[in-house]
């Protein structure tokens, strides 16, 4: 587990996070947007795990909390999407404008 340089895993984490950001910008379907957010959370988890041999086991413990928060977020977010779909019959991001401005 020591023969993978830290920079490789951190680079992979940065690339995955950037792909997630690009997905959030370019997609319009709210569920796909949500999946891009999950990808970004995963990239952050990867950075935590990659750094945990150097900064202590706290990194791996924190990944647990991130996964728990991601699960809670997915449950609430998908419920919001079902509620919006019931009113607008669509999941396009232009329908999620009630709190935007």
């Amino acid at each position: 587990m020591n023969d993978i340089p830290l920079s490789y895993s951190l680079a992979l984490s940065a690339i995955l996070f950037a792909i997630g950001v690009a997905g959030v910008v370019v997609r319009r379907n709210a569920i796909v947007l949500f999946m891009c957010v999950e990808l970004m959370l995963n990239a952050v988890n990867l950075a935590f795990v990659a750094l945990s041999p150097y900064a202590g086991v706290q990194g791996q413990v924190f990944v647990f909390f991130v996964i728990a928060v991601a699960a809670a977020e997915a449950a609430v977010g998908l419920a919001i999407m079902i509620a919006v779909f019931r009113h607008r019959e669509s999941l396009d991001m232009k329908n999620f404008s009630l709190l935007r401005w």
Binding site: V21, C36, P53, A79, I80
Partner: protein, 177 residues
């Protein structure tokens, strides 16, 4: 530099993760997006195990690929997404902006990650100490012991958070409360 078998595996799974993440962003059908995202999660789980976090890798597959993505697929199919009359992708200007944002994020993270490795926080830091405590407490105990001693309050707060989230999801998704 000698390229070891672990590094070859790492590059293979990293290529799988990046490839399926790009496919996830570019596919139009939401079900295909979800499937590619599951592929990314499996590749990242394999990388976790290569980095020595075996339990996190298993939890990644169980919780992310097993539970969260089933929820996503369930909602996608429930709401009948993936029609042709509502374009899912934005126009060219947005695509250029997305590429710019991605490059900016990569540059920023490269700047952050390129700095000094943070000083170890606790007593047990460094790859050798991690290997020792894994041998001492086992793969699960490595995370479980600090989770149930040092992070007890955070664990209880997470339990409350999950309860609130479940109640909130039911309230939001129900037709009449």
């Amino acid at each position: 530099m000698q390229i070891t078998f672990t590094q070859i595996l790492f590059f293979f799974f990293a290529a799988c993760a990046v490839g399926s993440a790009v496919a996830m962003v570019t596919r139009r059908n939401p079900v295909a997006c979800a499937m590619w995202l599951i592929g990314t999660f499996f590749s990242v789980a394999a990388i976790y195990t290569l980095l020595g976090a075996f339990f996190i890798g298993i939890v990644q597959i169980l919780v992310y690929a097993g539970a969260i993505m089933v929820l996503f697929l369930f909602v996608i199919m429930l709401l009948n997404q993936g029609n042709d009359y509502e374009p899912d992708m934005r126009g060219t200007a947005w695509k250029i902006m997305a590429g710019g944002a991605a490059l900016l994020i990569i540059a920023f993270l490269g700047r952050v990650f390129g700095g000094e490795i943070p000083r170890p926080l606790g007593m047990e830091a460094g790859p050798q100490a991690l290997a020792t405590s894994t041998a001492e407490r086992g793969v699960v105990g490595l995370i479980g012991v600090p989770l149930y001693t040092d992070y007890m309050v955070a664990l209880q707060a997470t339990a409350i958070l999950l309860l609130v989230a479940v109640v909130g999801a039911v309230v939001l998704a129900k037709r009449k409360v």
